[in-house]
Symmetry: none
């Protein structure tokens, strides 16, 4: 059987909200080492990968590997019934046809449990090649969200250019054009949550569809910091790390067109 207990129940809500707009249903792959999920969005353009490590849970048991196919929209709805400070326990019997969500409040004088029917979902477990990215940017997740939202005003495609003087996000459209540049700022008086770090082996300039980036930034509540990794001609990686628990990663291939 599978049983996983997470004191920070609100994390599970945020994780589900971070994926449900991109992917309607997906397999939660449970093993003794934890839970992982990989799925392409419905238009097969981007990919989301979730990892929750067993030791990140307050209790974790998984006797044999299980593939739990879940409708993420339904899961998000069920998790709406979970208070933010509730303790969540996920359960599934081997060969079960449902996953159980149990919510307990801190004092454990209120317990709810919900069952979601499992579904058979074609798993398209794509091997994601380990890439040596030429540029890695770490920045406040909220700032990245704001950039992607704001630039969408002017156009559909953003050009991300990493150079030695910073990262430039550019867009152009009928109304006009826009550029937002951020620089590394790791001076002593920079608050940790405002830090920008840029590691660059060589300059990289790529185009991406803002529509998908704006799906990715639904994960902003998961983490104060987002990490972008880029290399020429390979998908961008957008990672939201959850300290001591795992991460949500998104992959998006660059647009080929040089001009928008």
């Amino acid at each position: 059987m599978f049983e996983a207990r997470l004191t920070a129940g609100s994390m599970l809500k945020k994780i589900t909200d971070a994926m449900k707009d991109l992917v309607t249903e997906a397999n939660f792959d449970c093993s003794s080492t934890g839970i992982s999920l990989q799925a392409m969005d419905s238009s097969h353009v981007s990919l989301v990968a979730l990892l929750l490590r067993a030791d990140g849970f307050d209790h974790f048991r998984c006797d044999r590997n299980l593939q739990l196919g879940i409708n993420l929209g339904s899961m998000a709805k069920v998790l709406k019934c979970c208070n933010n400070d509730d303790i969540v326990t996920l359960k599934a019997d081997d060969n079960a046809d449902a996953m159980t969500f149990m919510f307990e409040n801190q004092t454990q004088d209120r317990i709810s449990d919900f069952e979601l029917k499992l579904m058979d979902i074609d798993s398209e477990h794509l091997g994601i090649p380990d890439t040596d990215y030429k540029a890695m940017i770490s920045m406040p997740a909220g700032e990245f969200q704001r950039i992607c939202r704001d630039l969408q005003i002017l156009g559909d495609t953003v050009t991300i250019a990493v150079g030695k003087d910073g990262v430039k996000f550019s867009v152009s459209g009928e109304m006009g054009s826009g550029n937002m540049t951020i620089r590394q700022n790791t001076s002593v008086d920079t608050k940790e949550e405002e830090q920008v770090t840029i590691e660059m082996e060589e300059p990289v300039t790529l185009n991406f569809a803002l529509r998908y980036l704006n799906f990715f930034t639904k994960a902003t509540p998961l983490s104060g910091t987002v990490c972008l990794q880029l290399s020429k001609d390979v998908p961008l990686v957008v990672e939201y790390a959850m300290p001591d628990l795992g991460h949500v990663r998104y992959y998006l291939a660059p647009k080929i067109e040089d001009e928008a």
Copy 2:
């Protein structure tokens, strides 16, 4: 060339928001003394006049007079990308086909710039006659906004009656009728932002379309105080002063009908 730097970038947002619902596009007339704008609303009923004095900016340079035609909706969208504590710089080359908006945060590790295409707009620079108004009312801007919003529930036309015992805003419609009266209150214990001042040469009673007054009150965030000036048979003036910077003024002709 033209270049104007304003530390209080949020003011520019508020100014644009104060006009964009009334006027879709307008010419910013830039000269060495500052920026001015005059435009009638799309139905040619009311008029808005903006004045920003050169010395209200932190830096102002305008080598030759420029008329920059801008779509105010686009401008408002671009200014959404400006954080409230950002520093804004406006720029245009002589004969430019675009105006540049540059936003810097306080620490200047984040810089954005946006270009908006300029447009040719018929300028209908109306001479506004200097009128000796018979009544002038200064009151909290928020209170005026509330009056105009609330009275609209009951009808379309407000009667503003300035008499020696105060100002009465009246409306009547199918549902019923309403009156709101404010009196001068300049006693010692009145906070400045709640002060009401009424200067009256002779009593004035005029009718106005609430629809337009409610457009005007979009300027409420610009100033704590609004100033109304009225005389028989001439347009009402609604002025929001921005200390040390300039003002936004609205003009609205009275309705002729005596009864709504």
